[in-house]
């Protein structure tokens, strides 16, 4: 397939939290039969409207100009190894997911971090030890079943503990035995701690297509009411040592700064 930037680029638009690329238009150059299956585009905006030259190193089109209200944009990856390096930006073509009926692909806006910010992050990461955390804030859901299940959980836990659950993504409960159970929604393992040490991972699920939070409610109520019954259902899994955070970059800050400056 040959991608013509002259056709592709005017199809780029953006709105809300994401942006869209009409891949039908992008691939409608007469030589392509896979329209609608390939492109995802990432872009970010500033306050400028500018014209940028775009060079293509493969394909029939060589150069063109695009006027868009974006300072930088890129098409991620490529099944066809098309890769274009502009003066200030990079364009790559990506084999992503698209709506094959409407020929719309979807991307997200996430501008690359500037060198200064990356350097700041590196400095920050060197100022404190890495932290292991199970926290994974609860995401937004449009599934009305899950919304209802969360309402039920709110009723079961009370406001304060429910807020903790939303923030951390799990519920901890101390059973009568003194063991602490860390319960996650869905089919995630329930972790068992004894005096702060992870001793077991138990798997108990609610079959039949229940929303994830219903599964958590079931475990929570069972553990509080009849821990032994819960453990009777559970299948035990091995406990692994937690994955340590990535080893920090050992190079000196001067070396890192030089590299960032080179890239910028």
């Amino acid at each position: 397939m040959v991608i013509s930037p002259a056709v592709l680029m005017p199809a780029i638009g953006y709105g809300g939290g994401g942006m869209y690329c009409n891949t039908n238009a992008a691939t409608n150059d007469g030589s392509d039969t896979t329209g609608g299956t390939t492109y995802r585009i990432q872009t970010w905006t500033d306050n400028n409207t500018a014209t940028y030259p775009i060079g293509w190193d493969t394909g029939t089109a060589t150069t063109t100009t695009v006027e868009m209200n974006v300072l930088q944009f890129r098409i991620l990856d490529t099944p066809y190894t098309q890769y274009t390096q502009g003066a200030n930006y990079t364009i790559r073509v990506y084999n992503g997911v698209a709506d094959t009926t409407g020929y719309w692909a979807y991307g997200t806006c996430s501008p690359p971090k500037p060198a200064a910010e990356r350097l700041r992050e590196i400095l920050n990461s060197r100022m404190a030890p890495g932290v292991l955390s199970s926290c994974k804030p609860l995401g937004y859901t449009q599934d009305v079943r899950e919304v209802r299940a969360r309402e039920t959980l709110r009723r079961v836990l009370g406001e304060d503990r429910f807020r903790d659950f939303v923030r951390r993504g799990f519920v901890s409960v101390r059973a009568k035995s003194g063991l602490v159970y860390q319960i996650f929604p869905g089919s995630d393992f329930t972790k068992v701690y004894d005096n702060g040490k992870l001793i077991e991972r138990l798997c108990v699920v609610l079959l039949g297509g229940f929303p994830p939070t219903d599964s958590l409610i079931m475990r929570y109520l069972m553990i509080l009411n009849n821990e032994q019954q819960f453990r009777g259902y559970a299948i035990k899994h091995n406990v692994y040592a937690p994955t340590l955070p990535m080893k920090p970059d050992q190079r000196s800050l001067i070396e890192i700064f030089k590299e960032l400056k080179k890239v910028a």
Binding site: D143, V144, R145, E146, V147, R148, A149, E151, T152, R154, R155, V156, L157, G158, E159, R161, F162, S187, C203, V204, V205, L206, L207, G208, G209, F210, P211, T213, D214, I217, M218, L221, M222, I223, L224, N225, N226, Y233, A234, I235
Partner: protein, 119 residues
């Protein structure tokens, strides 16, 4: 006018099966809509269901007829294998399984225990 299907709650009660049994909601009991709150004197049954996530049935604790119907429904649910957990007032945690119907229980969550399995 509510239809007959709306007055039933589908709950999976058979182990290792997707077969769902229907539990009829008595005429005098009310099914709460989303975001609708139970009244001050109303007591609530919550059903965990795959289809709805959560289904709430309420009755007025001052009305003997409704209490009787609630008791009948409670007994039917228990007989079919649902386990009733009492939820404490003001969201206070509780783990109490109810042996018999208590009209003072503010909320009762029915758990389809047949669907619980190790994974």
């Amino acid at each position: 006018m509510t239809t007959a299907t709306l007055r039933e709650i589908e709950v999976p009660l058979v182990k290792n099966s997707n077969v769902k049994e229907k539990i009829a909601v008595p005429d005098k009991l009310r099914i709460l809509e989303d975001k609708e709150k139970a009244g001050e004197w109303e007591r609530c049954f919550r059903f965990l269901t795959p289809k709805d996530g959560d289904k709430r049935v309420v009755w007025d604790s001052r009305d003997m007829d409704q209490i009787e119907e609630a008791k009948a429904m409670f007994d039917e649910c228990v007989a079919k294998g649902l386990v009733p957990y009492r939820v404490g007032r003001d969201g206070k945690q509780t783990s109490e399984v109810m042996d018999e119907f208590d009209p003072e229980a503010e909320e009762v969550i029915f758990m389809p225990i047949a669907q619980v399995a190790g994974g």
